[in-house]
Symmetry: C2
Subunit: 234 residues, 2 copies
DNA sequence: ACCTGAACACCGTTCAAGT
DNA sequence: ACCTGAACACCGTTCAAGT
Protein backbone atom coordinates (compact mmCIF):
# COMPACT_ATOMS: atom_id res chain seq x y z
CA UNK A 1 0.00 0.00 0.00
CA UNK A 2 3.05 2.25 -0.07
CA UNK A 3 2.67 2.83 -3.79
CA UNK A 4 2.00 6.55 -4.11
CA UNK A 5 0.09 6.03 -7.36
CA UNK A 6 -2.59 4.19 -5.44
CA UNK A 7 -3.09 6.79 -2.77
CA UNK A 8 -5.73 9.33 -3.76
CA UNK A 9 -4.48 12.85 -3.48
CA UNK A 10 -6.12 15.24 -1.08
CA UNK A 11 -8.93 17.17 -2.71
CA UNK A 12 -8.93 20.91 -2.63
CA UNK A 13 -12.18 22.50 -1.65
CA UNK A 14 -14.52 23.53 -4.39
CA UNK A 15 -14.57 27.25 -5.03
CA UNK A 16 -11.17 27.27 -3.40
CA UNK A 17 -8.95 30.09 -2.35
CA UNK A 18 -7.84 32.92 -4.57
CA UNK A 19 -4.34 31.56 -5.10
CA UNK A 20 -3.91 28.71 -7.52
CA UNK A 21 -4.73 25.73 -5.32
CA UNK A 22 -2.14 23.14 -4.49
CA UNK A 23 -2.42 19.82 -6.33
CA UNK A 24 -0.34 16.75 -6.88
CA UNK A 25 0.01 17.72 -10.50
CA UNK A 26 1.35 21.18 -9.72
CA UNK A 27 3.78 19.75 -7.19
CA UNK A 28 5.13 17.08 -9.55
CA UNK A 29 5.50 19.64 -12.33
CA UNK A 30 7.46 21.96 -10.09
CA UNK A 31 9.61 19.08 -8.87
CA UNK A 32 10.41 17.94 -12.41
CA UNK A 33 11.43 21.47 -13.35
CA UNK A 34 13.68 21.61 -10.31
CA UNK A 35 15.19 18.26 -11.22
CA UNK A 36 15.93 19.46 -14.73
CA UNK A 37 17.60 22.61 -13.46
CA UNK A 38 19.46 21.45 -10.42
CA UNK A 39 19.64 17.67 -10.52
CA UNK A 40 18.46 15.20 -7.95
CA UNK A 41 19.72 16.89 -4.82
CA UNK A 42 18.20 20.13 -6.05
CA UNK A 43 14.82 18.44 -5.87
CA UNK A 44 14.41 18.55 -2.12
CA UNK A 45 11.00 18.69 -0.49
CA UNK A 46 11.84 22.10 0.89
CA UNK A 47 12.80 23.53 -2.49
CA UNK A 48 9.75 22.04 -4.17
CA UNK A 49 7.58 23.51 -1.44
CA UNK A 50 9.20 26.88 -1.95
CA UNK A 51 8.63 26.60 -5.70
CA UNK A 52 4.88 26.20 -5.18
CA UNK A 53 4.96 28.84 -2.46
CA UNK A 54 4.13 26.89 0.63
CA UNK A 55 5.85 25.25 3.57
CA UNK A 56 7.43 21.80 3.39
CA UNK A 57 4.73 20.23 5.53
CA UNK A 58 2.05 21.01 2.98
CA UNK A 59 3.35 18.54 0.40
CA UNK A 60 2.72 15.45 2.51
CA UNK A 61 -1.00 15.11 1.87
CA UNK A 62 -0.45 15.27 -1.88
CA UNK A 63 2.62 13.16 -2.57
CA UNK A 64 3.46 11.37 0.63
CA UNK A 65 7.10 11.45 1.63
CA UNK A 66 10.19 12.10 -0.45
CA UNK A 67 10.21 8.63 -1.95
CA UNK A 68 6.61 9.07 -3.05
CA UNK A 69 7.42 12.35 -4.74
CA UNK A 70 10.39 10.76 -6.49
CA UNK A 71 8.26 7.91 -7.82
CA UNK A 72 5.69 10.35 -9.14
CA UNK A 73 8.35 12.49 -10.78
CA UNK A 74 9.99 9.49 -12.44
CA UNK A 75 6.76 8.22 -13.86
CA UNK A 76 5.79 11.67 -15.09
CA UNK A 77 9.12 11.91 -16.89
CA UNK A 78 8.67 8.49 -18.47
CA UNK A 79 5.54 9.76 -20.16
CA UNK A 80 7.97 11.08 -22.77
CA UNK A 81 9.21 7.63 -23.78
CA UNK A 82 8.19 6.83 -27.34
CA UNK A 83 6.68 3.37 -27.24
CA UNK A 84 5.24 3.50 -30.73
CA UNK A 85 8.43 2.47 -32.52
CA UNK A 86 6.31 2.06 -35.60
CA UNK A 87 8.78 3.37 -38.14
CA UNK A 88 11.42 0.73 -37.83
CA UNK A 89 11.13 -2.37 -39.94
CA UNK A 90 12.36 -5.39 -38.05
CA UNK A 91 10.96 -6.23 -34.65
CA UNK A 92 14.43 -6.16 -33.20
CA UNK A 93 14.90 -2.65 -34.52
CA UNK A 94 11.60 -1.60 -32.98
CA UNK A 95 12.69 -3.07 -29.68
CA UNK A 96 15.98 -1.23 -29.81
CA UNK A 97 14.18 1.99 -30.72
CA UNK A 98 11.97 1.79 -27.64
CA UNK A 99 14.92 1.01 -25.39
CA UNK A 100 16.88 3.88 -26.91
CA UNK A 101 13.99 6.24 -26.31
CA UNK A 102 13.81 5.13 -22.69
CA UNK A 103 17.54 5.64 -22.34
CA UNK A 104 17.36 9.06 -24.00
CA UNK A 105 14.62 10.20 -21.61
CA UNK A 106 16.67 9.10 -18.62
CA UNK A 107 19.70 10.95 -19.94
CA UNK A 108 17.76 14.13 -20.64
CA UNK A 109 17.45 15.20 -17.02
CA UNK A 110 20.43 14.78 -14.75
CA UNK A 111 18.93 12.88 -11.82
CA UNK A 112 16.38 10.67 -13.58
CA UNK A 113 18.53 7.58 -13.96
CA UNK A 114 19.25 7.71 -10.24
CA UNK A 115 15.53 7.72 -9.56
CA UNK A 116 14.89 4.89 -11.99
CA UNK A 117 17.63 2.60 -10.81
CA UNK A 118 15.93 0.98 -7.87
CA UNK A 119 12.45 1.62 -9.31
CA UNK A 120 10.75 2.64 -6.09
CA UNK A 121 7.24 2.12 -7.41
CA UNK A 122 5.73 1.40 -10.80
CA UNK A 123 3.45 4.05 -12.25
CA UNK A 124 1.26 3.96 -15.34
CA UNK A 125 3.89 5.20 -17.77
CA UNK A 126 6.41 2.70 -16.52
CA UNK A 127 3.75 0.03 -16.98
CA UNK A 128 3.15 1.14 -20.54
CA UNK A 129 6.85 0.81 -21.27
CA UNK A 130 6.99 -2.61 -19.65
CA UNK A 131 3.96 -3.72 -21.62
CA UNK A 132 5.42 -2.52 -24.90
CA UNK A 133 8.71 -4.29 -24.34
CA UNK A 134 6.98 -7.51 -23.39
CA UNK A 135 4.86 -7.35 -26.50
CA UNK A 136 7.82 -6.76 -28.79
CA UNK A 137 9.82 -9.56 -27.21
CA UNK A 138 6.97 -12.02 -27.65
CA UNK A 139 6.37 -10.87 -31.21
CA UNK A 140 10.07 -11.36 -31.79
CA UNK A 141 9.59 -15.04 -31.16
CA UNK A 142 10.42 -15.40 -27.48
CA UNK A 143 8.26 -17.70 -25.46
CA UNK A 144 6.44 -15.98 -22.63
CA UNK A 145 8.59 -17.12 -19.71
CA UNK A 146 11.75 -16.03 -21.48
CA UNK A 147 10.23 -12.70 -22.49
CA UNK A 148 9.17 -12.09 -18.90
CA UNK A 149 12.66 -12.64 -17.54
CA UNK A 150 14.31 -10.85 -20.44
CA UNK A 151 12.40 -7.63 -19.92
CA UNK A 152 13.87 -7.41 -16.44
CA UNK A 153 17.38 -7.90 -17.74
CA UNK A 154 16.91 -5.26 -20.42
CA UNK A 155 15.44 -2.74 -18.00
CA UNK A 156 18.25 -3.25 -15.56
CA UNK A 157 20.96 -2.91 -18.16
CA UNK A 158 19.57 0.16 -19.89
CA UNK A 159 18.82 1.94 -16.63
CA UNK A 160 22.18 1.23 -15.07
CA UNK A 161 23.94 2.21 -18.25
CA UNK A 162 22.12 5.55 -18.22
CA UNK A 163 23.02 5.99 -14.58
CA UNK A 164 26.66 5.38 -15.37
CA UNK A 165 26.57 7.93 -18.15
CA UNK A 166 24.65 10.47 -16.12
CA UNK A 167 26.94 10.47 -13.14
CA UNK A 168 29.77 12.41 -14.62
CA UNK A 169 32.32 11.15 -12.13
CA UNK A 170 35.03 12.74 -14.11
CA UNK A 171 35.77 9.87 -16.46
CA UNK A 172 39.26 11.31 -16.21
CA UNK A 173 39.93 9.44 -13.00
CA UNK A 174 38.83 6.08 -14.43
CA UNK A 175 40.87 6.72 -17.54
CA UNK A 176 43.87 7.58 -15.45
CA UNK A 177 43.40 4.50 -13.26
CA UNK A 178 43.15 2.16 -16.24
CA UNK A 179 46.01 3.81 -18.12
CA UNK A 180 48.11 3.57 -15.00
CA UNK A 181 47.47 -0.15 -14.42
CA UNK A 182 50.84 -1.83 -14.21
CA UNK A 183 51.53 -4.91 -16.30
CA UNK A 184 52.80 -6.65 -13.17
CA UNK A 185 49.71 -6.19 -11.01
CA UNK A 186 46.98 -6.20 -13.63
CA UNK A 187 48.28 -7.88 -16.77
CA UNK A 188 44.95 -8.22 -18.57
CA UNK A 189 43.85 -4.67 -17.85
CA UNK A 190 47.25 -3.42 -18.94
CA UNK A 191 47.13 -5.40 -22.16
CA UNK A 192 43.59 -4.31 -22.97
CA UNK A 193 43.83 -0.71 -21.79
CA UNK A 194 43.34 0.69 -25.28
CA UNK A 195 40.27 -1.44 -25.89
CA UNK A 196 38.81 -0.73 -22.47
CA UNK A 197 38.79 2.96 -23.26
CA UNK A 198 37.87 2.67 -26.92
CA UNK A 199 34.62 3.38 -28.63
CA UNK A 200 32.01 6.08 -28.33
CA UNK A 201 29.19 5.65 -25.85
CA UNK A 202 26.38 5.11 -28.40
CA UNK A 203 28.47 2.54 -30.22
CA UNK A 204 29.12 0.59 -27.03
CA UNK A 205 25.52 0.88 -25.93
CA UNK A 206 24.23 -0.38 -29.25
CA UNK A 207 26.65 -3.30 -29.18
CA UNK A 208 25.60 -4.22 -25.64
CA UNK A 209 21.92 -4.16 -26.56
CA UNK A 210 22.58 -6.45 -29.50
CA UNK A 211 24.60 -8.78 -27.32
CA UNK A 212 21.88 -9.01 -24.68
CA UNK A 213 19.13 -9.49 -27.26
CA UNK A 214 21.13 -12.17 -29.02
CA UNK A 215 21.78 -13.96 -25.78
CA UNK A 216 18.17 -13.76 -24.67
CA UNK A 217 16.98 -15.19 -27.98
CA UNK A 218 19.45 -18.05 -27.70
CA UNK A 219 18.55 -18.96 -24.12
CA UNK A 220 14.92 -19.98 -23.80
CA UNK A 221 13.99 -20.30 -20.15
CA UNK A 222 11.76 -23.25 -20.77
CA UNK A 223 14.56 -25.41 -22.09
CA UNK A 224 15.79 -25.99 -18.54
CA UNK A 225 12.86 -25.67 -16.20
CA UNK A 226 10.81 -22.74 -15.05
CA UNK A 227 8.98 -23.61 -11.86
CA UNK A 228 5.91 -21.53 -11.26
CA UNK A 229 4.89 -20.51 -14.80
CA UNK A 230 1.53 -22.17 -15.24
CA UNK A 231 1.02 -22.83 -18.92
CA UNK A 232 3.56 -23.74 -21.54
CA UNK A 233 1.83 -21.63 -24.16
CA UNK A 234 2.67 -21.63 -27.87
CA UNK B 1 43.17 13.70 -9.03
CA UNK B 2 39.93 13.17 -7.14
CA UNK B 3 40.66 9.48 -6.76
CA UNK B 4 41.02 8.97 -3.02
CA UNK B 5 43.27 5.97 -3.53
CA UNK B 6 45.91 8.23 -5.04
CA UNK B 7 45.92 10.77 -2.26
CA UNK B 8 48.44 9.91 0.43
CA UNK B 9 46.88 9.83 3.84
CA UNK B 10 48.08 12.19 6.51
CA UNK B 11 50.84 10.68 8.55
CA UNK B 12 50.51 10.41 12.28
CA UNK B 13 53.50 11.53 14.24
CA UNK B 14 55.98 8.95 15.30
CA UNK B 15 55.70 8.03 18.94
CA UNK B 16 52.21 9.45 18.80
CA UNK B 17 49.70 10.09 21.53
CA UNK B 18 48.54 7.55 24.06
CA UNK B 19 45.23 6.90 22.35
CA UNK B 20 45.26 4.66 19.31
CA UNK B 21 46.11 7.14 16.58
CA UNK B 22 43.67 7.89 13.83
CA UNK B 23 44.43 6.33 10.48
CA UNK B 24 42.68 5.77 7.18
CA UNK B 25 42.58 2.08 7.93
CA UNK B 26 40.89 2.52 11.28
CA UNK B 27 38.35 4.92 9.79
CA UNK B 28 37.48 2.63 6.88
CA UNK B 29 37.15 -0.34 9.23
CA UNK B 30 34.79 1.58 11.49
CA UNK B 31 32.80 2.78 8.49
CA UNK B 32 32.43 -0.72 7.09
CA UNK B 33 31.19 -1.97 10.46
CA UNK B 34 28.68 0.85 10.57
CA UNK B 35 27.57 0.02 7.03
CA UNK B 36 27.04 -3.60 7.97
CA UNK B 37 24.98 -2.69 11.00
CA UNK B 38 22.97 0.25 9.84
CA UNK B 39 23.12 0.37 6.06
CA UNK B 40 24.29 3.18 3.85
CA UNK B 41 22.60 6.08 5.58
CA UNK B 42 23.93 4.79 8.89
CA UNK B 43 27.42 5.37 7.53
CA UNK B 44 27.49 9.14 7.88
CA UNK B 45 30.70 11.03 8.42
CA UNK B 46 29.45 12.10 11.82
CA UNK B 47 28.68 8.58 12.95
CA UNK B 48 31.98 7.25 11.66
CA UNK B 49 33.75 10.07 13.47
CA UNK B 50 31.89 9.22 16.65
CA UNK B 51 32.83 5.56 16.21
CA UNK B 52 36.52 6.43 16.17
CA UNK B 53 35.98 8.97 18.94
CA UNK B 54 36.72 12.22 17.26
CA UNK B 55 34.90 15.11 15.63
CA UNK B 56 33.64 14.97 12.04
CA UNK B 57 36.24 17.46 10.85
CA UNK B 58 39.06 15.09 11.73
CA UNK B 59 38.23 12.57 9.01
CA UNK B 60 38.91 14.92 6.12
CA UNK B 61 42.70 14.63 6.10
CA UNK B 62 42.48 10.84 5.99
CA UNK B 63 39.69 10.03 3.57
CA UNK B 64 38.69 13.26 1.91
CA UNK B 65 35.01 13.95 1.70
CA UNK B 66 32.09 11.55 1.97
CA UNK B 67 32.49 10.28 -1.57
CA UNK B 68 36.11 9.47 -0.85
CA UNK B 69 35.19 7.50 2.23
CA UNK B 70 32.54 5.60 0.28
CA UNK B 71 35.01 4.66 -2.44
CA UNK B 72 37.49 3.41 0.15
CA UNK B 73 34.81 1.41 1.95
CA UNK B 74 33.58 -0.20 -1.26
CA UNK B 75 37.02 -1.25 -2.32
CA UNK B 76 37.82 -2.62 1.12
CA UNK B 77 34.65 -4.70 0.97
CA UNK B 78 35.53 -6.01 -2.49
CA UNK B 79 38.68 -7.51 -1.02
CA UNK B 80 36.39 -10.40 -0.09
CA UNK B 81 35.57 -11.29 -3.70
CA UNK B 82 36.97 -14.69 -4.60
CA UNK B 83 38.76 -14.23 -7.89
CA UNK B 84 40.47 -17.59 -7.84
CA UNK B 85 37.54 -19.57 -9.24
CA UNK B 86 39.95 -22.43 -9.62
CA UNK B 87 37.62 -25.26 -8.70
CA UNK B 88 35.21 -25.01 -11.58
CA UNK B 89 35.96 -26.86 -14.75
CA UNK B 90 34.81 -24.90 -17.74
CA UNK B 91 35.98 -21.35 -18.24
CA UNK B 92 32.42 -20.21 -18.43
CA UNK B 93 31.75 -21.79 -15.05
CA UNK B 94 34.80 -20.04 -13.61
CA UNK B 95 33.55 -16.76 -14.99
CA UNK B 96 30.14 -17.29 -13.47
CA UNK B 97 31.73 -18.26 -10.15
CA UNK B 98 33.67 -14.98 -9.97
CA UNK B 99 30.60 -12.95 -10.89
CA UNK B 100 28.55 -14.81 -8.30
CA UNK B 101 31.17 -14.12 -5.66
CA UNK B 102 31.10 -10.43 -6.54
CA UNK B 103 27.34 -10.45 -6.34
CA UNK B 104 27.37 -12.30 -3.02
CA UNK B 105 29.76 -9.76 -1.51
CA UNK B 106 27.56 -6.90 -2.62
CA UNK B 107 24.51 -8.58 -1.14
CA UNK B 108 26.22 -9.31 2.17
CA UNK B 109 26.09 -5.75 3.45
CA UNK B 110 22.97 -3.73 2.89
CA UNK B 111 24.36 -0.57 1.29
CA UNK B 112 27.24 -1.96 -0.75
CA UNK B 113 25.40 -2.31 -4.04
CA UNK B 114 24.33 1.30 -3.78
CA UNK B 115 27.97 2.30 -3.38
CA UNK B 116 29.08 0.11 -6.26
CA UNK B 117 26.45 1.19 -8.74
CA UNK B 118 27.99 4.37 -10.00
CA UNK B 119 31.53 3.21 -9.14
CA UNK B 120 32.85 6.48 -7.77
CA UNK B 121 36.50 5.51 -8.07
CA UNK B 122 38.38 2.33 -8.85
CA UNK B 123 40.53 0.91 -6.07
CA UNK B 124 43.00 -1.98 -6.14
CA UNK B 125 40.49 -4.70 -5.27
CA UNK B 126 38.09 -3.52 -7.93
CA UNK B 127 41.00 -3.59 -10.35
CA UNK B 128 41.84 -7.15 -9.40
CA UNK B 129 38.25 -8.16 -10.11
CA UNK B 130 38.27 -6.33 -13.43
CA UNK B 131 41.55 -7.97 -14.36
CA UNK B 132 40.31 -11.45 -13.50
CA UNK B 133 37.14 -11.05 -15.53
CA UNK B 134 39.04 -9.74 -18.51
CA UNK B 135 41.43 -12.67 -18.34
CA UNK B 136 38.65 -15.23 -18.16
CA UNK B 137 36.76 -13.64 -21.04
CA UNK B 138 39.84 -13.68 -23.24
CA UNK B 139 40.65 -17.24 -22.26
CA UNK B 140 37.07 -18.08 -23.12
CA UNK B 141 37.80 -17.18 -26.70
CA UNK B 142 36.68 -13.57 -26.91
CA UNK B 143 38.85 -11.23 -28.88
CA UNK B 144 40.25 -8.40 -26.85
CA UNK B 145 37.96 -5.59 -28.00
CA UNK B 146 34.87 -7.69 -27.31
CA UNK B 147 36.18 -8.79 -23.91
CA UNK B 148 36.87 -5.18 -22.99
CA UNK B 149 33.33 -4.08 -23.80
CA UNK B 150 31.79 -7.21 -22.34
CA UNK B 151 33.37 -6.74 -18.93
CA UNK B 152 31.57 -3.43 -18.65
CA UNK B 153 28.24 -4.99 -19.54
CA UNK B 154 28.72 -7.78 -17.02
CA UNK B 155 29.75 -5.40 -14.24
CA UNK B 156 26.77 -3.20 -14.87
CA UNK B 157 24.30 -6.04 -14.92
CA UNK B 158 25.56 -7.83 -11.85
CA UNK B 159 25.85 -4.65 -9.83
CA UNK B 160 22.44 -3.33 -10.75
CA UNK B 161 20.90 -6.72 -10.11
CA UNK B 162 22.42 -6.74 -6.63
CA UNK B 163 21.14 -3.24 -6.06
CA UNK B 164 17.66 -4.29 -7.06
CA UNK B 165 17.77 -7.21 -4.65
CA UNK B 166 19.27 -5.18 -1.85
CA UNK B 167 16.73 -2.44 -1.88
CA UNK B 168 13.86 -4.26 -0.33
CA UNK B 169 11.26 -1.91 -1.67
CA UNK B 170 8.59 -4.21 -0.43
CA UNK B 171 8.35 -6.42 -3.51
CA UNK B 172 4.74 -6.59 -2.39
CA UNK B 173 3.96 -3.36 -4.11
CA UNK B 174 5.46 -4.46 -7.42
CA UNK B 175 3.68 -7.76 -7.16
CA UNK B 176 0.41 -6.00 -6.44
CA UNK B 177 0.96 -3.59 -9.33
CA UNK B 178 1.68 -6.38 -11.80
CA UNK B 179 -1.12 -8.59 -10.53
CA UNK B 180 -3.47 -5.65 -10.79
CA UNK B 181 -2.57 -4.78 -14.39
CA UNK B 182 -5.80 -4.74 -16.38
CA UNK B 183 -6.04 -6.68 -19.62
CA UNK B 184 -7.43 -3.59 -21.29
CA UNK B 185 -4.60 -1.19 -20.42
CA UNK B 186 -1.63 -3.56 -20.31
CA UNK B 187 -2.49 -6.68 -22.29
CA UNK B 188 1.00 -8.16 -22.42
CA UNK B 189 1.71 -7.59 -18.76
CA UNK B 190 -1.66 -9.04 -17.88
CA UNK B 191 -1.08 -12.11 -20.02
CA UNK B 192 2.41 -12.69 -18.66
CA UNK B 193 1.75 -11.77 -15.04
CA UNK B 194 2.43 -15.29 -13.79
CA UNK B 195 5.73 -15.50 -15.66
CA UNK B 196 6.80 -12.00 -14.63
CA UNK B 197 6.59 -13.03 -11.00
CA UNK B 198 7.87 -16.57 -11.42
CA UNK B 199 11.22 -18.02 -10.54
CA UNK B 200 13.52 -17.69 -7.59
CA UNK B 201 16.10 -14.95 -7.60
CA UNK B 202 19.18 -17.20 -8.03
CA UNK B 203 17.49 -19.03 -10.88
CA UNK B 204 16.71 -15.82 -12.70
CA UNK B 205 20.16 -14.43 -12.01
CA UNK B 206 21.85 -17.52 -13.34
CA UNK B 207 19.72 -17.47 -16.46
CA UNK B 208 20.50 -13.79 -17.08
CA UNK B 209 24.23 -14.38 -16.73
CA UNK B 210 24.04 -17.21 -19.24
CA UNK B 211 22.04 -15.07 -21.62
CA UNK B 212 24.51 -12.19 -21.44
CA UNK B 213 27.52 -14.49 -21.80
CA UNK B 214 25.94 -16.25 -24.77
CA UNK B 215 25.15 -12.94 -26.40
CA UNK B 216 28.60 -11.57 -25.81
CA UNK B 217 30.21 -14.66 -27.31
CA UNK B 218 27.98 -14.41 -30.37
CA UNK B 219 28.63 -10.71 -30.99
CA UNK B 220 32.29 -9.99 -31.65
CA UNK B 221 32.89 -6.27 -31.66
CA UNK B 222 35.45 -6.49 -34.43
CA UNK B 223 32.95 -7.87 -36.92
CA UNK B 224 31.51 -4.37 -37.38
CA UNK B 225 34.21 -1.83 -36.61
CA UNK B 226 35.92 -0.76 -33.44
CA UNK B 227 37.43 2.66 -33.94
CA UNK B 228 40.29 3.46 -31.63
CA UNK B 229 41.59 0.02 -30.68
CA UNK B 230 45.15 0.01 -31.91
CA UNK B 231 46.07 -3.54 -32.74
CA UNK B 232 43.95 -6.35 -34.09
CA UNK B 233 45.86 -8.90 -32.05
CA UNK B 234 45.44 -12.66 -32.30
C1' DA C 1 -11.35 20.24 9.62
C1' DC C 2 -7.71 21.50 7.27
C1' DC C 3 -3.31 23.70 6.71
C1' DT C 4 1.33 25.02 7.95
C1' DG C 5 5.14 27.57 10.85
C1' DA C 6 8.20 26.21 13.79
C1' DA C 7 10.67 22.65 15.96
C1' DC C 8 13.28 18.32 15.98
C1' DA C 9 16.88 15.45 14.80
C1' DC C 10 19.78 14.94 11.79
C1' DC C 11 23.25 15.90 7.58
C1' DG C 12 28.33 17.36 4.96
C1' DT C 13 31.63 20.77 5.07
C1' DT C 14 34.31 24.77 6.62
C1' DC C 15 37.04 27.57 9.55
C1' DA C 16 38.69 29.88 13.37
C1' DA C 17 40.38 29.22 17.58
C1' DG C 18 43.02 26.41 20.33
C1' DT C 19 47.12 23.30 21.41
C1' DA D 1 51.88 23.02 12.43
C1' DC D 2 48.39 20.23 13.24
C1' DC D 3 43.88 19.12 15.03
C1' DT D 4 39.05 19.83 16.03
C1' DG D 5 34.79 22.19 18.42
C1' DA D 6 31.60 24.95 16.97
C1' DA D 7 29.26 27.15 13.33
C1' DC D 8 27.02 27.23 8.79
C1' DA D 9 23.78 25.96 5.56
C1' DC D 10 21.24 22.77 4.60
C1' DC D 11 18.07 18.21 4.99
C1' DG D 12 13.17 15.06 5.83
C1' DT D 13 9.58 14.68 8.92
C1' DT D 14 6.42 15.70 12.72
C1' DC D 15 3.22 18.18 15.42
C1' DA D 16 1.07 21.68 17.80
C1' DA D 17 -0.93 25.77 17.27
C1' DG D 18 -3.57 28.51 14.41
C1' DT D 19 -7.41 29.44 10.98
Amino acid sequence: MSNPFDRPEALSRRGGPVKEPLSRDRIVTAALALLAEEGLEGMSLRKVAAAVETGPASLYPYVGDLEGLQALVLDRALAAVDTSGAKRRGRRERLKAVLLSYSAVLLEKPGLAQLAMPAPAIGPHTMRLLDTLLGLLEEGGLDRPTAAWAVDLLFLYVTSSALEQTRGHDPRSHVATIRGASAADYPHVHAARAELLSGEVPERFSWALDAVLTGVLACPVTSSRQGSGRKSSR
